[in-house]
Amino acid sequence: MLFGYEWDLSSPLAFAISILPILLTGLVVTIQAATLGFAVALVLGLVWAVLKAVPSPFISWPAKVVTEFIRDTPLLVQLFFLYYVLPEYGIVLPAFMTGALALGIQYSAYTAEVYRGGLEAVGTDQREAARALNLSPARTFTHIIVPQAIPRIIPAMGNYLVSIMKDVPILSVVTVLEVLNVAKIVGDRTFDYLIPLSMVGGIYLILTLVASAGVRLLDSWLPKQGIPLK
């Protein structure tokens, strides 16, 4: 029994059907962790992108080193670091929060690049036209650059959301009961890993195929030139 659901070992099919609700509770956690991690990555990535673009090397250079460091070290180790080291300094986050934070930090290094690429893809000629019209730098950024960068940024971000989802199982090592961990526990208890783990594979395949199709659809819906304001 797990989460109040019994399983039925009478036949492989009955077993698979009986553990599906259990796995789906895990899937909910997976999606929650991915969503929260993605939100962190979106915000933190923007911070990195802005810091890296600051003209002063005293700010941009450390930001570059830090993001490179984040990008070049394994999520698993970063997760362990946050989970075991932060409490030594009095910061105790629940496992789920720590996991989402780790996902967010790891992916912020990637989303920062997406922001940078999206903003840089809006050519200098647009900045110059805005300047010639005496638009203020702030207005140029919010009303000229950003609306044109968004359609380039959104699909790339969508792809990272799919990637984050695939990294959520790593959170199982810090007791987060996402779908893989749930399947593993079912396996530990029934000594049958084949069915639960294969089901997790299948669930993931469906999830990512659907999500990727969604991203492609979104991409085709977005106007190519920019998001018209109003």
Binding site: D125, Q126, E128, A129, R131, N134, P228, L229
Partner: protein
Amino acid sequence: MTQDIIHFDKVVKRFGDLTVLNNLDFSVKRGEKVSIIGPSGSGKSTVLRILMTLEGIEGGKVTVDDEPLWHEQAADGTLKAASEAHLRKMRAKLGMVFQHFNLFPHMSVMRNITEAPVKVLGLSKAEARQRGEELLDLVGLADQAQKYPGQLSGGQKQRVGIARALAMRPSILLFDEPTSALDPELVGEVLNVIGKLADEHDLTMLLVTHEMRFAREISDRVCFFDRGKIREEGTPEELFTDPSEERTREFLSAVLDG
């Protein structure tokens, strides 16, 4: 107040090791229409971009309307590098039409024209819209106000570019090869609009172009640029029919044949 609305005094402009303008002296009178011609890389665009404050200068002084452009008077009377506020004030005197139009692709034609007047000049939306309609009428696009730039032909785009620059009521209008990115059959409509402007307004116009026939028609004066200097200047007749410099002759024979 002198007659000159634009004055370059020994202006030096470098890109890294490359000196693009080398002690350039150059001036334009109020209301004058001046064409700049010359080989590629001779610094023609650079002159316009310095005026539009898109590029800084390394030496000398530029004056617009008797005020230094890239400098301002410090409290103690000496000149110091211009502040952004000073540049904003000066920039209001100038408008620019770009080679590649540089319209905002995410805004409708009308929004392209009204955005800056509303946000920068503080016009009401209604005023800006009315002025926009007049200008679109002027450039012959009254019926295209609600389209997006992506839906227009090159010639139409450039005419929107001209309307957008005019909407800011500049006293000087800069054109950087306004027709060279257009298909040949679209060049005429844009030149027509520019010609109309030249005839009907007392705007000061500074025009970089490769359209020799057109330069000849509309200009009060033509300047031949070569390697960051004015090699020769004069009325269109003088320059086109009887250039005094060998270099000018060479250039003209090459472009008029081509």
